[in-house]
Symmetry: C2
Subunit: 243 residues, 2 copies
């Protein structure tokens, strides 16, 4: 066969293979191809292909958590998977496309994790929604902040990327909207005083975001809790004063 580069077995003492990807080549794999439920496929994608994409998303998430956006290398993502990093290039069109897809992925996850009750009274409902934003869904509370960390880093970086910014804007609008809705409901029902619901919703959303950012960037573990108390004491209190 075409011995392309002379590299016979002898060669250099340590891995001649460039790409020190070596992370650890799935030694004991037996974890990849299982759970292959032959359900209805979605769109025109193979089941396994869809599965792989999800594996890549999860790996991206882990790599992003570890290294941060700035220092994220394709190699890092590869090391978080049982597959080699090159499969990424088969399923995505380069690094930027991968990140963009991941962004949609993580936003969808966020979206999907929101549980709507809807039947409670506005007072309770409002607090429940705020809590959900601040502390995550009741179940699966672990990992909430890991996700948030990644989300928040991408969020900040969006200032340099118009495309990403739009995604975040849409998402933001949905969150804010859902809070405004509850406030409006409360006003209609007469349990809240008659304020500008948009402005109030905006304020609440802002406080949520700030507490999140403070916890993540500055490491203030108690920021969400404190923010929650402050809202109770200084915002909700004045909201409910029907007077």
């Amino acid at each position: 066969m075409s011995e392309l580069h002379g590299g016979s077995a002898s060669e250099p003492a340590e891995s001649p293979t460039d790409d020190a990807d070596t992370g650890d080549p799935n030694t004991g794999d037996a974890d990849t191809g299982d759970a292959n439920t032959g359900d209805a496929d979605t769109g025109d994608e193979t089941v396994s292909s869809k599965n792989t994409k999800e594996v890549i998303m999860e790996a991206t998430f882990r790599a992003l958590s570890k290294h941060g956006y700035k220092d994220l290398r394709m190699r890092d993502i590869g090391e978080e998977m049982d597959l080699t990093r090159q499969v990424i290039h088969y399923h995505f069109d380069g690094k930027y496309d991968l990140i963009s897809s991941f962004l949609e992925h993580i936003i969808d996850q966020y979206e999907g994790s929101v549980v709507v009750e809807g039947d409670a009274d506005p007072r309770t409902e409002l607090r429940a929604r705020v809590d959900q934003c601040l502390f995550g869904p009741e179940f699966e509370e672990f990992s909430h902040w890991d996700r948030m960390k990644v989300y928040h880093e991408l969020y900040t970086h969006a200032q340099n990327d118009g495309e990403h910014r739009e995604l975040f804007n849409d998402h933001y609008e949905r969150i804010r909207g859902s809070i405004v809705e509850v406030v409006e409901e409360g006003i209609e029902e007469g349990v809240f005083r008659d304020v500008d619901a948009e402005r109030m919703g905006q304020l609440v959303t802002d406080v949520i975001h700030a507490a999140r950012g403070r916890r993540i960037s500055l490491g203030h573990e108690d920021a969400p809790e404190e923010a929650r108390k402050a809202m109770d004491e200084f915002i909700f209190e004045s909201l409910e004063r029907t007077e």
Copy 2:
């Protein structure tokens, strides 16, 4: 100053010189070595050396504004100066040291731009401080948001860097503290109702940060203004209700 290397349309097919730094070797310079006031030196640094460091800081700022933290290359900084990028390595100990120094630099600037009145009544004082955080000092209003953009990006990245995080924590504490102080003053003087000043100050600081972040990351130009109105309407109003 940005459009340095517009010319040389021909562009040598393959510049043998590696380092396509070529930007364009300060053609029209005549801007570097002057203004050399032989004043008393500070510490053990030459005047010119100190000057150069500042030039580098400014260049770093510009490069950071343009490219964002993630995509910042030493080369980009070089292109924002009249000097070559290698001088950076003479004055700083590599990229990380440069960024750290820049961080201190921009925080100092922030700090220095804060104007304290102190004599006004707490009501006015509180609003004035908030305004300053939201809109920048009255003079030199331009460039305020450029600085903020850079500040905020570094701020978010601090989650991945303990050393930087500490710097931001200190700074944050100073800002928050100054607001808490005003609130306390107001309570003592009896113009504000008797609330937990710490918590109130925290809330106000959080709202400021959120509005800033929203304007920068999401591009909501009116975020500061809206936040200001929301605070007036929903927070300050209830604060002043001495009742």
